[in-house]
Amino acid sequence: MTEPQRVRVTGPPRRRPAVRRVDVDEDTRLGEVYLGSLMRAQLSIALRTLAVLFLGVGSLPLLFWLAPGLVRTAPFGIPLPWLLLGVLVYPFLFLLGRWYLRGAERNEASYADLLRSDDEAP
């Protein structure tokens, strides 16, 4: 019979916390600066996503309003409004969402890096 292998259980290292939030948790000037930069970055990617949404989808009623002749075009035998609004819009929304998700996670990763490097400084 083999004994189960011994596992060493340790807590998180005490010298270097993963992310130190003391500066930010308190209402300090430094905290405000950090928060401001993260919020700006996150708001910027959100607004860029929504701008693409508005240009790509929100403009369609106006487009067909200005050029009603487009209704008669029928690529693949499906009239253009049905193709755009009934089918293509959904993959578009999903891909836009995925693009946003990656950007937002990247922003958070660099924010965590910023805090960590700040902790390492003397």
Binding site: G31, P81, L93, G97
Partner: protein, 509 residues
């Protein structure tokens, strides 16, 4: 009762039994884990997203869209687009911060953010209003469905759905609701996918006929009545894109995510699930045109189409399937809303009332009393008010949410200057403007002028107005910015500290 109604009765019975069985099974499952809430926080994005989809795809999605496309054409495609894009707006601006706030309901969020009991009560009033407004068309749709497919009197549907919802809430179904809702998403998808597949094959074997009146106006993606049509389309876009985040049963679900990051990932999966589902209803609407359907009302097209295109047992089976899907839609959305409304009613009305009377009842008893009120009021409303059509009725609830909770959430999450006074003023503005529009629409009274369109589709002017009032009053009362604002915003926007790097480092040693 005729033989015609057999498939529908079997389907409705099976869905009801499956819902109650999965609810009980899920309850047992959640009891074996040491702590239910720990378990619920480890709900994977896939399961959680199915549950969100199951709760969100209401009768308006299952029956309403196909009917509206059938009667009014391509402009009605904006309903499903808006209901999906609303989740994209939610993803970008609200999902992760709302999860990190730790607030379970919108009134909780408002109180935490603004430290004001008054704003909290206002939000509770709004949750109940939006919830009831959203429940109304669901229950009316249930009445219509059972009348058509089972020959039942109109009141049977609302009473049956109300009873099943109450039973599941009373038996503690709240804990197991995730499994029920997830099951109902896949049931609804199947109940639409199979009929669409079969009926499209039938259409193909009939030589793929085209509709005689597939006219150009039917394909126009906005209203045909001049600038008013364009206005109505953009107003619908504003209501649905911005209203989704403020629906009572949507916000609650974000708490079951482990953290903000998972909340975002869940929302992305929801976008995919909704996108797949919404490909289907318009196909049924178009097929209805091609085969010259004459449904009893627009909302019953989906239920009547299988028998119109197929005779014999195949038509019966497909009819049973769509009935099952429709009933799952009534049940899942209604129970999600009933739970959200009961939670708020018990916290902010029943418990304080009981306490004032010196009663010892609290917690579960209060929740049950609240759920009785939460279900009986809209059931009575559904029996007493005329139906405005399930998709249009739901759109009013979206407009109310867009003019109230959307400004509150966006400014609460992204601005450091929001004050309780500003929030209250904006919420009251949104409630008064869209509330009067709702009353106008349901009353059925019309002026036959441009005012009809402006009042039945209020979002395009009411939402900017609420934003403006909320911002201006906040700036005017700048000295009342809550002192904890920065600290709270840090929590909303900071990624949760991950333990993985530390654990990985220690095991390598």
């Amino acid at each position: 009762m005729t033989l015609d109604s057999a498939p529908a009765i079997v389907a409705v019975t099976l869905v009801t039994l499956a819902t109650l069985t999965i609810g009980t099974w899920g309850l047992r499952f959640s009891r074996t884990t040491s702590d239910f809430y720990v378990a619920s926080r480890s709900v994977r994005p896939g399961l959680n997203a199915s549950a969100i989809g199951g709760e969100y795809l209401s009768a308006a999605s299952f029956l309403g869209i196909a009917g509206l496309v059938f009667t009014s054409g391509a402009e009605m495609l904006w309903y499903p687009i808006g209901w999906t894009a609303g989740y994209l707006v939610l993803l970008t601006l609200v999902a992760a911060p709302l999860r990190r706030s730790g607030a379970y309901t919108l009134p909780d969020f408002a109180e935490e953010r603004l430290a004001s009991r008054g704003v909290r009560r206002l939000c509770s009033l709004l949750v109940v209003s939006i919830g009831w407004l959203y429940l109304l068309p669901q229950l009316q749709g249930a009445g219509l469905t059972l009348e058509l497919v089972a020959g039942a009197p109109r009141w049977v549907g609302p009473v049956l759905v109300g009873t099943v919802v109450l039973v599941s809430v009373f038996s503690g179904g709240m804990r197991s609701i995730t499994f029920v809702q997830a099951f109902q998403y896949w049931l609804k998808l199947t109940a639409l996918l199979v009929p669409v597949g079969v009926l499209v094959a039938v259409w193909g074997s009939d030589g793929a006929p085209r509709a005689n009146d597939l006219s150009q106006t039917w394909s126009l993606p906005m209203g045909t009545d001049g600038p008013a049509g364009l206005y109505a389309t953009y107003s619908l876009i504003a209501a649905t894109f911005l209203g989704t985040m403020g629906l009572p049963h949507v916000g609650v679900r974000f708490y079951t995510n482990p953290d903000g990051r998972a909340a975002r990932r869940t929302t992305l999966v929801v976008l995919a699930l909704l996108g797949v589902f919404y490909l289907l209803p318009p196909i049924l609407g178009v097929l209805g045109r091609v085969y010259g359907a004459r449904p009893a009302s627009a909302d019953t097209l989906v239920l009547e189409l299988p028998r119109l295109m197929l005779s014999g047992w195949a038509g019966d089976v497909l009819t049973g399937l769509v009935c099952a899907g429709a009933f799952a839609a009534f049940l899942s959305t209604s129970s999600g809303l009933a739970i959200a409304v009961s939670g708020v009613l018990s916290q902010d009305v029943v418990v304080p009332l009981l306490r004032r009377r010196g009663s010892r009842y609290g917690g579960v008893a209060a929740f049950r009393i609240a759920s009785l009120v939460a279900v009986i009021v809209p059931v009575a409303g559904a029996l007493l008010t005329p139906s405005v059509g399930v998709a249009r009725g739901v759109a009013l609830a979206f407009a109310l949410a867009a003019a109230t909770f959307c400004p509150l959430l966006l400014l609460g999450i992204w601005s450091r200057r929001l004050t309780a006074y500003g929030a209250a003023a904006g919420l009251v503005t949104g409630l008064v403007t869209t509330g009067s529009a709702v009353v106008f629409t349901i009353s059925g009274w019309r002026t036959d002028t441009w005012a009809d369109v402006v009042l039945t589709q209020p979002a395009l002017w009411a939402v900017p107005l609420s934003f403006a009032v909320m911002i201006l009053v906040s700036l005017a009362t700048a000295e009342h910015v809550p002192p904890h604002t920065t600290r709270l915003l840090v929590r909303l926007h900071t990624p949760e500290p991950t333990l993985e790097p530390a654990v990985a480092a220690s095991t390598q040693r």
